[in-house]
C-alpha cells in the first residue's frame, strides 16, 4: 500500500505506540481487500459496549488508554447495552453495568464522545457528498453512503477505533467510485405508507441478495420518502442483506438518473409490489395471538417518531401485562420531554430508554425468559430480523398496528 510520509512516520511509531498498532491493523485489513492507499476521515462512529466487546475487548481498551491513545478526529459511540436509569427496573446484570461505566470513562479519557446513538446521521453529524468517514453500525453506514453520498465501509468496533486514532481508513469498498454503482434494479410497484412498509421492502430486497457489494437501485418511488422512511429502508437492507449502499433514483444524490446510478453496468431486475409487502406481513407466525411485548427500536427513534407515538398513545393505556419499550438517544429524549411527547408515552405506560437499542440490551435473553416474552411486535424490520437470535418470535407490523397491539395485548394475522 502507498503510504504518505506522515503515515510512514506513524507506522514507525513516531506518533506513539497506540496509533502505530492501530495503523498496523488497518493496513492488514486494507491489504486483504487490495486497498492501494489510506484516505483521511473527518468523523468516526464506533460500536463500543461491554456486551458486544466482552472482557477481552474491555482489556484491549484499557491497554490502549494506558498507551495514551487519543482520538485524532471527532469520534462518537453507537447505542449501548445499558440505560443506567433502568438497570434495576429491567433486572439487568449490575456487575456488567459497572463494567460498562468503566468502559465509558475509558472511552472519554481517550477523547471519544459517548453519544450512544445509532442515529448519529439524524442527530449529530451529516457528512456531505464525497466525504470519507469511518462509521460502525450498519444502519449508519448505509444511510451515509446512500442518502448523504458520503463514503464509508462497515467499520466494526476495533477498526473504527483504529480510524479514530489514525484519522484515516483504507480505501477499499465504498470509498471507491466503482463499488458505489448499482447492480440490482428494484422496480417499486408498491406504495409504502409506513416506516414498517419501508422496512418490509428492505427485507424483501435484502434477504434475497445477501451481499455486502450488492447495491440496489430503487425506481418507481412515487411519494418522496422522509428521512425516517429511508432510515428504516436502509437499516433493513443492511440487516437482512448485509448491504452497505442503495440508490433511489430522483431521491439520493448519486442517482439523479438510472444511468447515473448504474454507471453503465447491466443490472439484475427485481420487482416489489404491494402484494409482496402484504404477504410478508401475513407470513409472520402469530402463534396464539397473545403479545406482551411491543418494541419501537432499531434504529433509535427520531423526534418525529416520538411525536407520532405520543399522538397515538395520548390518553390511552398499554394493557396490563404488556410491555411497551421505546428507545431513543439522549438528545431526542430530552427534546421529547420538553415538548411533552415523553409524558404522553409514559402516562400510557410506555418505557422510553435512552442511549440503547433493544437487541443489544445486556441480559436480553434472560429478560425474555424472566418476563415470559415470546411474541415481539415491532415496526422495525431490522429488529424483527436480529431479535430472533435471542429466541423471541418477532412480528413486523405497521406503527399504528403496533400501538393497537400494545393496548390490547393481541396480535392478529392480517
Amino acid at each position: 500500500m502507498q503510504l504518505t510520509r506522515e503515515e510512514e512516520r506513524m507506522l514507525g511509531g513516531a506518533l506513539g505506540e497506540a496509533p502505530r498498532q492501530a495503523l498496523e491493523l488497518q493496513l492488514e485489513v486494507g491489504e486483504f481487500f487490495g486497498a492501494e492507499r489510506l484516505v483521511p476521515v473527518s468523523n468516526v462512529h464506533m460500536m463500543g459496549d461491554v456486551e458486544v466487546m466482552g472482557d477481552g475487548g474491555l482489556e484491549f481498551m484499557r491497554r490502549m488508554a494506558e498507551l495514551g491513545a487519543r482520538c485524532a478526529v471527532n469520534t462518537t459511540t453507537n447505542a449501548r447495552c445499558f440505560d443506567f436509569d433502568y438497570v434495576e427496573r429491567l433486572n439487568q446484570d449490575a456487575g456488567m453495568a459497572e463494567k460498562e461505566r468503566g468502559l465509558i470513562s475509558l472511552l472519554q479519557r481517550m477523547g471519544v464522545m459517548t453519544a450512544d446513538t445509532c442515529i448519529n446521521y439524524q442527530s449529530l453529524y451529516q457528512p456531505h457528498l464525497g466525504e470519507h468517514v469511518a462509521w460502525g453500525d450498519t444502519g449508519t453506514v448505509i444511510y451515509a453512503n446512500s442518502v448523504l453520498g458520503a463514503r464509508s465501509n462497515f467499520e466494526s468496533g476495533p477498526v473504527a477505533f483504529a480510524a479514530a486514532l489514525t484519522g484515516r481508513t483504507p480505501a477499499y469498498g465504498f470509498h471507491l467510485d466503482e463499488r458505489r454503482r448499482g447492480n440490482i434494479l428494484v422496480q417499486l410497484e408498491a406504495a409504502p405508507k409506513n416506516l414498517a412498509d419501508w422496512g418490509a421492502i428492505g427485507k424483501l430486497v435484502g434477504e434475497n441478495h445477501q451481499d455486502y457489494f450488492a447495491v440496489p437501485v430503487f425506481v418507481g418511488v412515487e411519494e418522496s420518502p422522509t428521512a425516517d422512511d429511508l432510515k428504516h429502508l436502509g437499516a433493513s437492507l443492511a440487516s437482512h442483506g448485509s448491504m452497505g449502499m442503495f440508490h433511489m433514483v430522483g431521491v439520493t444524490p448519486e442517482a439523479r438518473t438510472v444511468e447515473d446510478a448504474f454507471g453503465g453496468g447491466r443490472p439484475r431486475v427485481v420487482t416489489v409490489t404491494d402484494e409482496d409487502v402484504e404477504d410478508l406481513y401475513a407470513g409472520y407466525n402469530t402463534g396464539d395471538g397473545s403479545a406482551n411485548l411491543v418494541v419501537f427500536s432499531g434504529p433509535q427513534l427520531s423526534l418525529y417518531e416520538l411525536k407520532t407515538l405520543s399522538e397515538l398513545l395520548e390518553g390511552k393505556k398499554v394493557r396490563e401485562g404488556t410491555t411497551l419499550i421505546v428507545t431513543t438517544n439522549r438528545g431526542n429524549k430530552c427534546a421529547g420531554e420538553k415538548l411533552g411527547y415523553l409524558r404522553k408515552i409514559e402516562e400510557a405506560g410506555g418505557l422510553v430508554l435512552e442511549g440503547v437499542c433493544f437487541y443489544i440490551l445486556d441480559s436480553i435473553a434472560r429478560l425474555r425468559v424472566e418476563n415470559g416474552w415470546g411474541n415481539l411486535v415491532t415496526n422495525s424490520a431490522k429488529l424483527a430480523n436480529i431479535i430472533a437470535a435471542h429466541k423471541f418470535n418477532p412480528i413486523l407490523r405497521r406503527t399504528e398496528e403496533c400501538v393497537e397491539v400494545a393496548l390490547t395485548g393481541r396480535v392478529e394475522r392480517p
Binding site: L25, F32, N78, E155, S156, Q210, D211, I386
Partner: protein
C-alpha cells in the same frame, strides 16, 4: 500421491490474511454470524435449524459460503479468542468487511473466494492446512 491427486486436495482462495494454520474442517452449507448463530460461552453453533447446529467451532477450520450479521462481529472473534474457544481459521466463499476486520483484529486466519466447491474437496473432520501467503487450502489427512 500423484500430481493429479494432489490437485484434487487443494482449493485456491482469492484473498487471505493471517498465519498458516492446520485444523479439523467443519463444513457448513449455511452462512455464519459469530453473534447470532453461536453460543458465545461454549463455542457451539446454537441457532436452531442452522446447518451445523450443535457443532463446536473451537480450533476448527470453518468453511462458510457467506457471512451474516452486523457490525458487532468485529469484536466477537477477539472475545472468542479471549475465552479460548476461537476457531483456527475462517474459509469463506463470500465474506464482508466486518468478518475480515474482526478476524484480523483477533489474529485468526481468514480467506475469501473458492476456486472450486469445497464440498467436492474437503469432508467434515478432514485435517486441512490454510496457507494465506500462497492463497490456498489443502487437505492433509482424511477423516
Amino acid at each position: 500421491m500423484s500430481a493429479e491427486n494432489r490437485e484434487a486436495e487443494i482449493i485456491e482462495v482469492e484473498r487471505a490474511a493471517g498465519k498458516v494454520v492446520e485444523g479439523v474442517a467443519l463444513m457448513s452449507t449455511e452462512g455464519f454470524s459469530p453473534r447470532y448463530d453461536l453460543d458465545r460461552w461454549t463455542g457451539e453453533i446454537s441457532r436452531p435449524g442452522h446447518a451445523v447446529e450443535g457443532e463446536n467451532i473451537k480450533d476448527k477450520v470453518l468453511f462458510f459460503p457467506t457471512a451474516k450479521g452486523g457490525i458487532a462481529a468485529g469484536w466477537a472473534f477477539h472475545d472468542l479468542k479471549t475465552k479460548g474457544i476461537a476457531p483456527k481459521a475462517l474459509v469463506f466463499g463470500v465474506t464482508n468487511p466486518v468478518m475480515v476486520q474482526g478476524a484480523v483484529f483477533a489474529g485468526i486466519t481468514i480467506t475469501e473466494g473458492w476456486s472450486r466447491d469445497p464440498f467436492e474437496v474437503v469432508r467434515n473432520g478432514d485435517t486441512v492446512r490454510v496457507d494465506p501467503s500462497n492463497k490456498r487450502v489443502e487437505v492433509l489427512r482424511r477423516e
